[in-house]
């Protein structure tokens, strides 16, 4: 199971890498088009911005899965072993609760934007799709954090210390 998850993580990271490379090409192509052909790529700035929003919130899922968030790690340095496991459990539960709550707010926004049919002026993209990046990123981050909390709790209940 964990091998499958690791494979999925690598695939997801590769996908995000491809998105970033595409963003670089669009960004440079936009600047080059301005000089070489006298016109920029239509809607390029909007596409780049919306791609960045998706990149950040999809990346949030992986950063959470790998516990790579920026934070102070004083407690686990002072209190290793079981103390660190309890701290992880608390943090994962907080992340699950917080991101789950925010995902519900995002769902409400995406539904409203979908209902009124708002689109981006420059690209014509439905804004519901753009904002759905937050919904998907936050909901899956909540799920990942909840699974991590359950895994830590299960390990602790068996009298072991998580790695």
């Amino acid at each position: 199971m964990s091998a499958v998850l690791r494979h999925l993580e690598r695939l997801a990271q590769g996908f995000l890498g491809l998105v970033l490379i595409a963003m670089v090409l669009l960004n440079v192509g936009n600047a080059a088009g301005r000089y070489l052909f006298g016109r920029a790529v239509p809607g390029a700035d909007d596409i780049l911005l919306y791609s960045m929003v998706w990149l950040v919130f999809l990346g949030l899922i992986l950063v959470t899965a790998r516990r790579r968030h920026l934070r102070l790690d004083l407690v686990e340095r002072l209190w290793p072993g079981r103390g660190r496991a309890l701290q992880r459990l608390l943090i994962d539960l907080l992340l699950a609760l917080l991101c789950g709550y925010l995902a519900l707010q995002s769902l409400a926004v995406v539904q409203r934007l979908g209902a009124i049919g708002q689109t981006s002026i420059a690209t014509g993209l439905p804004m519901a799709w753009v904002h759905a990046g937050l919904l998907i990123g936050l909901a899956l981050t909540a799920l990942v954090a909840a699974l991590q909390a359950a895994q830590t709790l299960w390990t602790l209940l068996r009298g072991k210390v998580p790695a």
Binding site: V19, L20, L70, L98
Partner: protein
């Protein structure tokens, strides 16, 4: 409500909760329990926090830094700097400072600079008789110059947060960065005199020419990026894209040091680093919005006005605050949380916001290697030596030098503003 906005984030921070989560938790609790507004506003402000064109430069410069680090470009820069400093006492130490400054002008990332320069130079420093603590302290502290010399991710974030010109910030950072590099190199020169270090070679024009031929394309990169911005060819965001493409062409086609698979891995890693940084940007946007709605910056300004502080005294106190926070918090989080609070005071006291951006960046760059929690300390620990105590001892003289430079940069605004 003060406890929600001050004590709750502080407690969560000390507990080790991720910075983005503690900012969102404080904002969420305030909106749900204390403010008469619908909670879907949290989504709108979270989205608005990163829906900013200037922030697009962040993923691009992070990706460029990854490509430079993995593509072996640092090694060529090291050889080039060494060919120039070979006849000076402490030439290898001076080359460490020079290479860190050049890497900063390419990648804008301090931890990446410590890792790349450290891996290249730490073994040589040890072989030539430099004390372990000195070498570790030198590499760890000189990496901090990377976020002061342009282009700098910290300055992009300050510019976006304070609504200041990023090209002007880049220009303003050049002399302070060089001042710090020069001060550190001068110290090494004095320190090395009379010591029997086996790194003093002969200066040979042939050596310089050979190293320059190997490194010319890497040396041209900061020139292309910075000249492009200052000559108005492209915006800082587009410069980030150009930096990526340039590094990619260099590593893939000219040096053939990366495979396409490694390029994709670099891009994936850069995407994760981007998410790590920009999720805090988004969360800090929500937290700043709550502070503004609650009138905290205005109350703070009124409170400080009541104290009748002069601008120099205010800057002294702010330096103490930023140095303290810099030891605990990474520059990204610190800039995004503190800029909205401090900027109104800065403007009220008539301090130039560009100058203040440089003061803030230099403070936080010092924080990156200040014990106990500066990020570069742990980068050095994981990549160079597990002996954290030796690193702590080794950084002390360099910390003193950088603090003297900070005082000069704070009280002589011309150092920052003469070029901007």
């Amino acid at each position: 409500m003060t406890w929600v906005l001050i004590l709750l984030p502080l407690a969560l921070f000390l507990l080790g909760v991720p910075v983005f989560a503690l900012l969102l938790a404080a904002a969420g609790v305030t909106v749900v329990f204390f403010l008469p507004m619908p909670p879907i506003a949290l989504h709108q402000v979270l989205f608005g926090g990163i829906d900013k064109y200037a922030l697009l430069a962040v993923p691009f410069f992070v990706f460029a830094g990854e490509l430079m680090g993995r593509g072996g470009i640092a090694d060529r820069l090291v050889d080039w700097v060494l060919s120039l400093t070979g006849r000076l006492p402490g030439s290898l130490g001076i080359a460490t400072v020079g290479t860190s400054t050049l890497m900063g002008a390419v990648s804008g990332s301090s931890p990446a600079t410590v890792a790349a320069v450290g891996r290249s130079l730490y073994p040589s420093l040890s072989e030539r008789g430099y004390a372990k603590g000195f070498s570790l302290g030198l590499i760890t502290s000189s990496g901090s110059i990377a976020i002061v010399v342009p282009p700098s991710i910290a300055m992009i974030l300050y510019g976006a947060s304070a609504e200041q010109s990023i090209p002007r910030l880049f220009q303003a950072g050049l002399l302070p960065g060089l001042l710090i590099a020069l001060a550190m190199a001068s110290y090494i020169l004095v320190w090395a005199k009379g010591r029997d270090l086996g790194d003093r070679g002969r200066f040979g024009l042939a050596q310089v020419i050979q190293a320059s031929r190997r490194a010319w394309a890497a040396l041209l990169m900061p020139v292309v990026v910075l000249a492009g911005i200052y000559l108005g060819w492209f915006s800082p965001t587009e410069a980030g894209g150009v930096a990526c493409l340039y590094a990619l062409l260099l590593a893939r086609l000219l040096y053939r040091s990366l495979t396409w698979r490694q390029v994709l891995e670099s891009a994936g890693e850069a995407a994760l680093l981007t998410a790590q940084i920009l999720i805090i940007v988004a969360a800090a946007g929500v937290f700043s919005w709550i502070l503004t709605v609650q009138g905290v910056p205005q109350a703070l300004v009124q409170g400080i006005i009541g104290l009748e502080l002069s601008a120099p005294l205010f800057l002294f106190l702010v330096n103490l605050l930023l140095l303290g926070i810099g030891c605990l918090l990474d520059p990204t989080s610190a800039i995004l949380v503190l800029t909205p609070l401090l900027l109104p005071l800065v403007l009220h006291l008539g301090i130039d916001p560009i100058h203040f951006g440089i003061i803030m960046t230099v403070n936080l760059s010092i924080g990156m290697f200040t014990p106990p929690f500066g990020l570069n300390l742990f980068v050095a620990q994981s990549t160079l030596s597990p002996d954290l105590a030796a690193i702590y001892r080794g950084i002390l003289p360099f910390l003193a030098i950088q603090l003297i430079c900070l005082a000069a940069i704070t009280y002589l605004p011309a150092i920052s503003l003469v070029l901007s």
